[in-house]
């Protein structure tokens, strides 16, 4: 095993470098040396997907292209395309070209939702740069999000109807997740079950659909498709739980955004739910009261953090993220062994352990 340094996140070049790729795959973790050899090939896959993505944005729409390009550059670490390319190779593909358009589509959908999320959450920053609504205004942000969805579906139109529907259903899940989340804002009483309902729809469903689609395109049988789908779902949940932790305990420079946004926006996370569950009556009431404030001062946020520290919620939540990563690994246990399979395993663990 070699220990590698990760590099800060934002702003990243459009062409994925090997260095940034290592950071994304590792998520700050360790890596079997043998698998490092396959990274250059994955970097090429990603470059192919990226050029497909950028190609769809140019087109005849000069007014939109700038903002759409901006959104794609600040938006996301290309985790979905990366997972899709690695999964395609793990399932035996010598050439990932057949999934490039679909991977670009899933990346565009992800970017579209980030853009619309930034409108909803009034986010100022995205990966260290002004968010799209901040940089281009709210109307542009809404329309660019729509445009990215549209381009994604145009790309998906190259595939069989079953793939388009997988893609569409996961987007609908995502919308439902967003609405469910809105309904639970500022309310810790909604609990763990509701939290997982939101996460499965808002984060996990689309990763699951992306990987199930790759399995389908690879000609996998129903068990094989279910294995990759389960992997994607569990990895997505691990990823989101880690996100919850990073919002309280991450490094804002690495994250490219300030801490405590979930607390500020009143989104119950596994961290705040665990804290709430463990606190004694008086402090629990205080935590609830502060969490429910629509406008929180920094002192309120720091007090919430202090109460969180006290319950050691972070340790339990980290263990839960790790357990989901192992579920992801277990889900693809039957996929034939090899360096790409190892990369998938590492990416699941990286999702649960990443620092940005």
């Amino acid at each position: 095993m070699v220990e590698l340094m990760t590099t800060p996140a934002a702003p990243e070049p459009a062409e994925p470098t090997l260095e940034s790729l290592v950071g994304r795959v590792l998520g700050g973790g360790a890596f079997p040396e043998a698998s490092l050899a396959v990274l250059p090939r994955i970097a090429e896959d990603l470059a192919g997907i990226e050029s497909r993505l950028l190609e769809t944005l140019h087109s005849t729409y000069p007014q939109l292209a700038d903002a759409a390009n901006y959104a794609c550059r600040v938006g996301g670490k290309r985790v979905r395309p990366l997972l899709m390319a690695v999964a395609h190779r793990a399932l035996g593909a010598e050439d990932t070209q057949p999934i490039h358009a679909l991977a670009a589509a899933f990346q565009l959908i992800h970017t579209a939702t980030l853009v619309h999320d930034d409108v909803i959450d009034h986010a100022e920053l995205r990966r260290g740069r002004p968010s799209l609504p901040r940089a281009f205004g709210l109307p542009a942000a809404i329309v660019v999000g729509d445009f990215l969805f549209i381009r994604a579906f145009e790309l998906a139109a190259e595939y069989p109807r079953s793939i388009i529907l997988r893609c569409g259903e996961s987007c609908a899940d995502l919308a439902e997740g967003e609405v469910l989340q809105e309904g639970a804002r500022f309310d810790l009483g909604t609990g763990r079950e509701h939290y997982f309902r939101v996460v499965e729809r808002k984060t996990a469903a689309i990763v699951a659909a992306a990987l199930a689609s790759v399995a389908e395109i690879s000609g996998a049988d129903p068990d094989g498709i279910a294995a990759l789908e389960g992997y994607g779902r569990a990895l997505g949940i691990a990823f989101q739980i880690r996100d919850d932790l990073l919002d309280v305990y991450g490094d804002p420079d690495l994250l490219g955004k300030p801490l405590y946004s979930d607390l500020r926006e009143g989104n119950p996370t596994l961290v705040s739910l665990e804290t709430h569950a463990e606190l004694q009556a008086a402090e629990r009431a205080e935590f609830e009261r502060l969490f429910a404030l629509r406008h929180k001062e920094m002192a309120d946020l720091l007090r919430l953090r202090e109460l969180t520290d006290r319950t050691h919620a972070a340790d339990r939540v980290a263990a839960e993220a790790a357990a989901w990563a192992e579920r992801a690994v277990a889900s693809i246990a039957e996929v034939r062994p090899g360096p790409y399979h190892d990369v998938l395993d590492q990416m699941a663990r990286g999702a649960a352990g990443r620092r940005y």
Copy 2:
């Protein structure tokens, strides 16, 4: 010819009644008596499309379904599905079932854009009822718009790739139109050419794509497809120009929303551009200054209206809408004659002459 009364617009039942259908086809105009006989069949077509539309909203998403249903009920007069069904029959179809899913898709896309428009324009009312952002909040409005787009593309996935791409391209046009429009806000100097660029993309492209798709599904040759596409484009432009007029000279009760929203939001319309072009120096400067105000008092709006009256811009604009309607009629001159063809002609003229 018989002269028929039109009924007020909002709120309309989901099931299209013959009465409301007559209103929509006529747009306040006259109608060849022979064609009235075919209206019941078109009403059945519309009911089929509507049930297909509502079916896609139910699904497993209870939290979304309410808001999505609300959006579909307040959103729109079903002009696109109506045009598509009539065109399908005009091209010889005995049964419009093959285009029901596509017509529902175009209606959903239209509704999605209305919802996002209402967010962008801070609209309070839509067809006499609270707009979706007003009724359900901004986050829900953004997500419901996305959800409607997604469901539309799922419906479109039933069709050949060429149709999906037609649909997608017209949506991209629409997004581009929205961005172009934003760029011209509060600025009358952008002129007529820019205005038509916006209208072609924002309104006409999607009607053109809807009708071209129907022609393609009907097995029309390239000339036939171009004829219907040209009809849709010209009708869309006529429709939008009429919209501009109604915003200043319409009946707010019939429209279900207050007047002067384009003036308030600073969207240059053909009415304001024509007024601006005709005014003498001092009044033109005043018109420009008032138009450019970000926050207008009612007195400002009424003064803008007064200056508009003075130039008789309304007469010239009405003539221009009528000319576009005749272009639409001319575009389908080669389509075989019959009652459905007559309805198409009437709908183009109705678009240019409607009162809501």
